[in-house]
């Protein structure tokens, strides 16, 4: 009997609630949600008022960031200074979250051939040509007839998006923006390019190998540069990294480099998510 239950697709997951219990679960879930709502509402009402200068969060921590941030990090954009210099360890963790997410998506969606020949076979399969070991996943390689409206407008828009993305990344320490936001803009531009021109064109610019290398190099640079900076900081050594003149493009020590690294990781992550969902490889 047990075995039957296991094979039944309805019961793939244990703890499936059946019949009478279902309504009990629904009611208790509702009660719980309402209770949580009122609990959180009570908390919010009783919290210190927003913007009050006597609030506990208006303390020496924020004061130093605002008053000495420019001098100590060399970044005009205090937020960049905070996330990439004062609290760079947290931000390194955040980039690794993205890295871990890419790996998980690869595990789930990447389709690999068994041998090298299979892989080459899979590379050849584009647009409608099949007879490979991959016949069952061929729909992934199907690309719709390229749309000329999309193509023409993409030619106009994509370069602008990419340049703006680069601008946001490179000026992360001077003006609002930085690696995360600029990388997202870059990634969006690349995805638009890919949908307009198809994989065969996009692969000339970005393929699995280049994405891999860009991610690897950016993360490694981040890891090593920050390790150096942590090590010197903790051991009270001079890091020897010049801060430059605040406001100049080449200033603020490592922040510019780290912004570029984060931007590249974010852009590659977005692009590879899209490519993996579309056809199972980058």
């Amino acid at each position: 009997m047990k075995k039957e239950r296991e094979n039944d697709p309805q019961n793939i997951i244990s703890g499936k609630i059946s019949g009478k219990l279902k309504s009990v679960y629904r009611v208790s879930a509702l009660v719980l949600a309402v209770l949580l709502f009122f609990m959180l509402a009570t908390v919010m009402i009783g919290m210190p008022d927003i913007g009050n200068k006597n609030n506990p969060d208006n303390n020496e921590v924020a004061k130093r960031y605002i008053e000495n941030g420019l001098e100590e990090t060399g970044a005009v954009n205090i937020v960049s200074g905070m996330i990439l210099d004062y609290r760079a360890f947290d931000t390194f963790g955040e980039s690794c979250v993205l890295f871990a997410a890419t790996i998980c998506v690869m595990i789930m969606l990447r389709i690999d051939g068994q041998t090298k020949e299979d892989d080459e076979e899979a590379q050849k399969v584009t647009f409608g040509i099949r007879q490979s070991a991959f016949s069952k996943i061929d729909s992934r390689n199907y690309e719709p007839e390229n749309d000329s409206i999309l193509k023409k407008s993409a030619i106009l828009i994509v370069p602008l998006i990419l340049i703006f993305g680069l601008y946001v990344i490179l000026n992360g320490h001077i003006s609002p923006g930085g690696g995360f936001s600029g990388g997202a803009i870059l990634g969006a531009g690349l995805i638009l390019f890919l949908s307009a021109f198809g994989f065969s064109t996009a692969e000339k610019v970005l393929n699995a190998k280049t994405v891999k290398i860009i991610t690897l190099v950016s993360l490694l640079v981040y890891c090593l540069a920050k390790s150096y900076s942590f090590f010197t900081g903790a051991n009270h050594l001079e890091s020897g990294i010049p801060l430059g003149t605040p406001g100049a493009i080449l200033s603020s020590g490592l922040i510019l480099v780290l912004n570029i690294c984060v931007g590249m990781v974010v852009a590659c992550t977005m692009y590879s998510f899209y490519a993996l969902v579309r056809r199972g490889r980058i």
């Binding site: 997951i13 244990s14 506990p56 969060d57 004062y86 963790g93 690999d112 900081g233 903790a234």
Partner: protein, 502 residues
């Protein structure tokens, strides 16, 4: 500054570095790279442990050029070092012993991805144990969650994808509640650094302001971490996640990942907010009650389970209950017993999961009834599995016995709570014995004519030929014995660590 103080930082960064480099390595290279790195992290943690025990105090290490609260910092005493040593030892031995299982379950080209996730998971656990900042803790909780998801999914059968998605949904709810708790606590205290929060908390409790808010904040953080570690009403993801994924993933998830969250919770209770304040909020009663219910219900559910791997998974729910009961007692002895149980359960569960892989793979069957007579065929694995089963039941000389003794001892002197705790311990131990010893007896059942044919048809002891498996599993057995026999010195370290914790 002594050079050794850099070691915690080195071990975190080394794992991260290895994870990044693994993304371009092949399967063999990434396997050896991971082993080397985990092995060296083990040595580094052991050195830190020795250093902190010898000096008897804790140290702060700046992560950057700015002192905390402006910059990040990590802090290490002997308890943090002991936990890191535990994590790296279990991660190292599980990956070594389960090499064959990984090769069987994971696609060749995705094997390096598996090792990336192992490295990321280890580094995030190390960071969670060393961190002195709640937000850093949250960031690494995220890495841990996503790596856990990938570890479940890495054995690509349809069920694991569903399980992984379910794990992610439940786990993210937990992270969300924890994050809410952290932000609200920040609004109330103005700090994210643990030592500064403690100062602010003392002044808040003295003034008597924000009493309700404060209780709810602690509740949110506690529930968030309880969901992630799989305490009783939030346990639904456990049996599938541990029962269907690759054995190495199961053993890593059950013995290290869920323990990392509990360690962070203890850190928040003891170090960030302070046990005296926690006691006044009543959160500990919730921990205690849920722990007691989990101890009994987890065992009852395991008793009803037919599938072998899922039975071991259900027993994890009961064991998590033991730990929360220990914390819920609200004394230093209770917390020390809970921490010891973290180590004991981690060592035992990974031994059980990995040695069980031979029966489930070798016989191509997964129900408990199919275990009959397998002990005659797979002698080595059956012996090691039995050691694990005896340990979890609480057989003297082994790790489980000591932790049960400590939990029982910590419970005494608590008025009505002591009877509930002792009764629950007794019932849970009996139930444990019923279902674990049943599997051991099944393994060694004398073969009748019908079964002899069946068993001899089975795959020969192919894991026995794998020296890595033998080494890893034997080492896990040894760790169980060490935890059981040398418990005195380990408890001393835990007690010292708790003292310098706050």
């Amino acid at each position: 500054m002594d050079f050794i103080k850099n070691f915690p930082f080195f071990s975190i960064m080394l794992c991260m570095f290895c994870a990044i480099v693994n993304s371009v390595l092949g399967r063999r290279a990434s396997k050896y790279m991971t082993r080397i790195v985990l092995g060296s992290v083990m040595c580094l943690s052991a050195a830190v442990l020795y250093y902190t025990i010898k000096s008897g105090s804790a140290y702060v290490y700046y992560m950057g050029h700015f002192p905390a609260p402006w910059g990040n910092e990590i802090r290490f005493g002997c308890l943090e070092a002991l936990f890191s040593l535990f994590v790296s030892v279990i991660a190292f031995l599980s990956t070594v012993a389960g090499t064959k299982a990984v090769e069987d379950d994971v696609e060749d080209k995705k094997e390096n991805l598996f090792y990336i996730l192992v490295c990321l998971m280890t580094s995030s656990l190390l960071a969670m144990s060393y961190t002195n900042d709640l937000f850093t803790g949250y960031v690494f909780i995220e890495i841990n969650t996503i790596a856990g998801c990938g570890l479940i999914m890495v054995r690509q059968i349809g069920k694991t994808t569903v399980t992984a998605i379910r794990y992610m949904v439940i786990s993210i709810l937990g992270s969300g509640l924890f994050l809410m708790g952290v932000t609200l606590l920040y609004t109330l205290t103005g700090h994210l650094l643990m030592s500064n929060i403690k100062e602010a908390v003392v002044s808040i409790t003295e003034s008597g302001e924000y009493r309700v808010q404060f209780t709810i904040v602690i509740g949110l953080m506690m529930v968030g971490l309880a969901i992630k570690s799989g305490l009783f009403p939030f346990h639904l993801w456990i049996p599938d996640a541990y029962g269907q994924s690759n054995v190495v993933s199961s053993s890593l998830l059950s013995s290290t990942v869920s323990k990392g969250y509990i360690f962070l919770l203890i850190k928040i209770f003891v170090r960030t907010i302070g046990f005296d304040v926690i006691k006044t909020t009543g959160v500990l009663y919730i921990c205690f009650t849920l722990g007691i219910v989990a101890m009994i219900l987890g065992s009852v559910m395991a008793l009803h389970e037919h599938s072998f791997r899922r039975m071991i998974a259900y027993s994890s729910i009961a064991q998590i209950g033991y730990i929360y009961m220990g914390i819920g007692l609200g004394t230093a002895a209770g917390v020390a017993a809970a921490i010891f149980h973290i180590f004991a359960h981690g060592a035992t569960k990974s031994l059980l999961f990995i040695s069980s892989s031979e029966f489930t793979e070798g016989s191509h069957s997964k129900t408990i009834d199919d275990l009959k007579g397998l002990g005659h065929k797979y002698r080595f694995s059956a012996f090691c599995y039995s050691v694990g089963a005896f340990s979890i039941v609480g057989f003297p000389l082994l790790a489980g016995f000591v932790s049960k003794l400590l939990l029982g001892g910590a419970a005494i002197g608590h008025g009505p709570m002591q009877w509930i705790a002792l009764l629950a311990l007794a019932i849970s131990t009996i139930l444990n014995a019923i279902y674990f010893l049943k599997t051991v007896i099944y393994l060694y059942i004398p073969l009748d004519a019908e079964h002899t044919g069946k068993v001899s048809d089975m795959v020969p002891e192919y894991r026995m030929n794998c020296k890595e498996y033998v080494f890893g599993v034997l080492m896990l057995v040894v760790i169980n014995l060490v935890l059981g026999l040398a418990s005195g010195s380990i408890i001393d370290v835990i007690n010292n660590g708790l003292e310098i914790f706050s």
